[in-house]
């Protein structure tokens, strides 16, 4: 099998061209970091909206969450890339990656935050309001701090999914890790096997520590019996 799909010289060629993969990895990391920040901000704001008593805010949050949870990310990204320029909105692929993936996962983070807020016993907010705190103050100083440790594991899982989902950029020539792998695999001697194995490994190296940390943290939480009632299951994407 000196010339099979897994032949050693193909791995050597990949090693020589490792810069291509490093560039892709860097783009994937940057897009992930920006998208994650965006998803967290959107998620907290919408999570607060959906637990408020204001009808309009609640509806806005609901519509946002349902829209982004129930349409494929691929279509959203393809739409931003190809349809928006026709009405004069032209983002570069990096922005599309950060914003597209960010707003998409914002919907999932919003659901995590909502579930987290609901898991705090109502007595907490009642007591805080009895002390004269406004609704926002109650959330900011009393409820959210208690929520954080409960929602950290599901949030981390969202981060893992977010990193993997940045690979959607490959279809719009986004320069991310997946795109570089596709591009490298389709040039020269068509050495697709090493390309995809190494790319898979790189994603694994990014995601596995996060996922493991989340699992361990959750186990510790359970053993300390901090969770008062089980978190609502958030649908994985």
């Amino acid at each position: 099998m000196s010339n099979g799909p897994f032949a050693l010289w193909r791995w050597a060629r990949l090693f020589n061209d490792r810069g291509v993969f490093a560039e892709g990895l860097l783009t994937t990391l940057l897009v992930s970091a920006l998208a994650l920040s965006m998803a967290l901000i959107i998620g907290v704001v919408l999570g607060l909206c959906s637990t408020s008593r204001n009808r309009i805010l609640k509806t806005v949050a609901r519509v946002y969450v349902e829209f982004f949870q129930n349409t494929p990310l691929v279509i959203q990204v393809f739409f931003i890339y190809n349809a928006l320029p026709m009405i004069g909105v032209r983002w570069d692929v990096f922005t599309i990656g950060a914003v597209g993936v960010g707003v998409y996962h914002g919907a999932y983070v919003a659901e995590v935050v909502r579930a987290g807020i609901h898991s705090i016993p109502p007595g907490q907010s009642e007591a805080s309001r009895a002390q004269g705190f406004t609704h926002l103050q109650t959330m900011w100083y009393v409820v959210l701090p208690q929520t954080i440790q409960i929602i950290l594991p599901p949030l981390t899982n969202q981060a893992v999914n977010l990193i993997k989902n940045t690979s959607v950029l490959a279809i719009i020539a986004g320069g991310d890790l997946m795109y570089r792998a596709d591009s490298w695999a389709s040039n020269g001697a068509l050495s697709y096997a090493p390309a995809y194995i190494v790319t898979g490994l790189l994603y694994f190296i990014l995601c596995f520590p996060l996922a493991t940390w989340a699992r361990r943290y959750e186990e510790r939480l359970k053993s300390r019996d901090i969770i008062h009632e089980p978190l609502e299951e958030v649908v994985e994407c």
Binding site: M1, G4, P85, D182, A189
Partner: protein, 258 residues
Amino acid sequence: MRKLLAVLCAAAMLTAVSGCAGSSSVTAASIKNAGVLKVGVKEDVPGFGLLNKDTNQYEGLEIELAKLIAKEFTGDDTKVEFTPVTAKTRGPLLDNGDINMVIATFTITEDRKLTYNFSTPYYQDAVGMLVKKDAGINSLADLGGKTIGVAQSATSKDAIQAAADEAGVSISFSEFASYPEIKAALDSGRVDVFSVDGSILGGYVDDTSVILPDRFSPQDYGVATKLDNKDLAQTVDDLINKWLNDGTIAGLVSKYNL
């Protein structure tokens, strides 16, 4: 880092070993026994391999070639099973044995011969460029700073890069998995030029776009077989040579106006 390398090496060795175990040679005789020739073809390239949506039948030069080969192998030109492939899927499908050969505008290059067997070329085509009529691009010289949309696993990227270097213009590339995606990117202005082999380009011209007269580096299309199957490759090559000499292929070329 050392651990990572160890894991990589282990993966490489494992896959190499499993690759050996699964392979059994495919020959004309084994295809005759199986009673069907499995061919990977394009389904979106008019004149070469096109799935006619009205009749649900494949048609084109490469389809006829596949039928001719099936007739030689099994005595019946209907004993052929078509699998639609893209530039990205045709290699893996050959390697894993799902198809016996690929006849799908597969360009022969020296590098690719390390990976697959190619027959004598049955058709020669040049890389062409499709641009929007109002883009003001008339030739290669106007491409400075432009983005060229190319298909993954197509040789057009290298061809245009070489031509651009020669003309002294700097260009960048965006790669896509399928031709319709490149066309969409051209329409939305994401890329300035849609560049693939000229024959393929013909299927994507519309009222707003035009194919430039410039053409680059002729591309040779060959029938590809898995590298292990040397006998099959030889048989196919003999057939292609025979049909090149007796005018069969020339007849097909003119039949499809290529």
